[in-house]
């Protein structure tokens, strides 16, 4: 490993005209409505050597996931009547604009995805077994937690693990009273400003049940309720795409 301290060139010096270079300079900005999600692409079965796998793309955010299990738990002392779920989310080092290690974020997301997905799995049918979900974020451009949850849910379905329902997830950004759906790039990252928040909702469309609401930032109760309601409506819109991704697995098997 290199012992030198290297600085990402974007954080380095200034450009010729004296202005600092922003991370989005040179990129095309796509004009989107506040209530419009980016293009969603879902596919199962990319990885052939694991029990189940999926790939989710929300705009430019890309996540790959695979499921290993159900496997017998090695520990003989505690018998667990329900299956154990382990989730690990990793960020590729090239997934951000600046090459940073994001161990805190990885741990946070791992816990969030595990708690979002666990209620959807029929764990009582898998006593004394371990189900592992491994996710890798290839590109982080907003709505990453939502993409991770979608990917995990599809990978579980691809592995043939029994689920009560498929999970859909959407992120909403609240700037004062204004709600922006599926924030991208800089819109997603600036939650440090007062009165702004990022809300992610994981929802089971057929059972009409929410498994996760994650709020980062500070905002009023009314805004959180409005944002959650908006997110649930969008989850219903995303659900047919998730169903289609499952149908495509069926067709591949034939």
């Amino acid at each position: 490993m290199c012992e030198n301290l290297s600085i990402p060139f974007l954080l380095q010096q200034y450009s010729k005209n004296g202005k600092p270079i922003s991370s989005t300079s040179g990129k095309k900005t796509v004009v989107r409505d506040d209530r419009q999600c980016r293009t969603l692409y879902l596919k199962c079965g990319m990885v052939t050597q694991t029990e189940g796998s999926a790939y989710a793309e929300m705009g430019t955010t890309k996540v790959v996931g695979s499921v290993i299990g159900p496997r017998e738990l090695q520990r003989r002392d505690d018998f667990r009547p329900k299956g154990t779920l382990k989730c690990q989310v990793k960020f590729a080092k090239f997934s951000h604009q600046n090459r940073l290690t994001v161990e805190d974020l990885e741990r946070d997301y791992s816990n969030q995805v595990a708690s979002a997905v666990e209620p959807a799995i029929v764990l009582s049918k898998y006593p004394k077994t371990l189900i592992e979900i491994h996710l890798l974020v290839l590109e982080n451009d907003g709505s990453t937690l939502a993409a991770c949850i979608l990917c995990a849910s599809l990978a579980l379905a691809d592995a043939g693990i029994e689920l009560y329902d498929m999970l859909t997830a959407v992120s909403v950004r609240a700037i004062g009273d204004r709600l922006i759906v599926d924030p991208a790039g800089e819109e997603a990252t600036r939650v440090e400003e007062a009165g702004t928040a990022l809300i992610t909702v994981a929802y089971m469309a057929r059972l009409h049940q929410t498994t996760l609401i994650d709020l980062k930032g500070d905002t009023s109760v009314k805004v959180v309720l409005d944002a959650s309601k908006l997110a649930v409506d969008l989850c219903h819109q995303i659900d047919p795409l998730v169903q289609q991704a499952l149908l495509d697995i069926e067709q591949l098997d034939e």
């Binding site: 030198n4 090239f94 290839l138």
Partner: protein, 272 residues
Amino acid sequence: MDFSRETQPKEYYRKFLEKDCRPDGRKLCEFRHTTLTPGLISSAEGSSLVKVGDTIVICGVKAEVGKPTELHPDQGIIIPNIELSPLCSSRLKMSSEEVECLCTTLSDLLKNSKCIDFASLCIVSQKYCWILYCDMYCLSLNGNLFDALVQSLVSALYNVKLPLVVFNEETEALEIDPKSTWSLTIPRIPVACSFATVDQTVLLVDPDAEEEAISDSILTVIALDDGQLCGFYKSGGSPATPDMLDRCMKRAHARGNEVRAQIRQSPSSNKR
């Protein structure tokens, strides 16, 4: 039902090898279908996704500015890094030491093949140079990891676009112009080709996970453009005859030409 594939894999394979073919329908000297997709990751300065059959490797290159090493003050630095997680295979057997060895092999390969002009990565001698971090992630592993790693590393570097950086001597600061970009010149492209030997006589090209498990030894040849070789690895296992080595090298050169054509013709479009 025939369970011999799981219980007696070698016997199962021998039935196919007698007829000069393999269970997946390939001939003994045939590579799996290879696809190359450059420029997938817009947050990276260069990237490439390589699929060799079911083995999928993605390489992303991030560029940073730093100080050159004491030994080579006029050269930039390229640091390959490989990450293998259970994501790619539920039967992952590689230890972290083996993965580190692979990283060192790739790093040596870039220097020995002289495919990259390290001096072009230097901005100001002894003060500033480009440091390229090449992170490779295996997304799916079905044998023959090394070939896919080399191909993804080289095509990602081929795809890299760096901004022009100028050192202003009056202000003693670096001026970066993100709109004018330049690519690395890679005059010679190394291509790796792996072979597995079974029963000490049969040579299988591009072994998948099952074939690697039943093989006696694995041979890797790294070929360059002009009929030169810049790497040859055979780690233990059964001995190989000179005739076998000869066949390997010939096949590696043919394969090298195919892969090089694929890398050079791929649209080097980075979404920036």
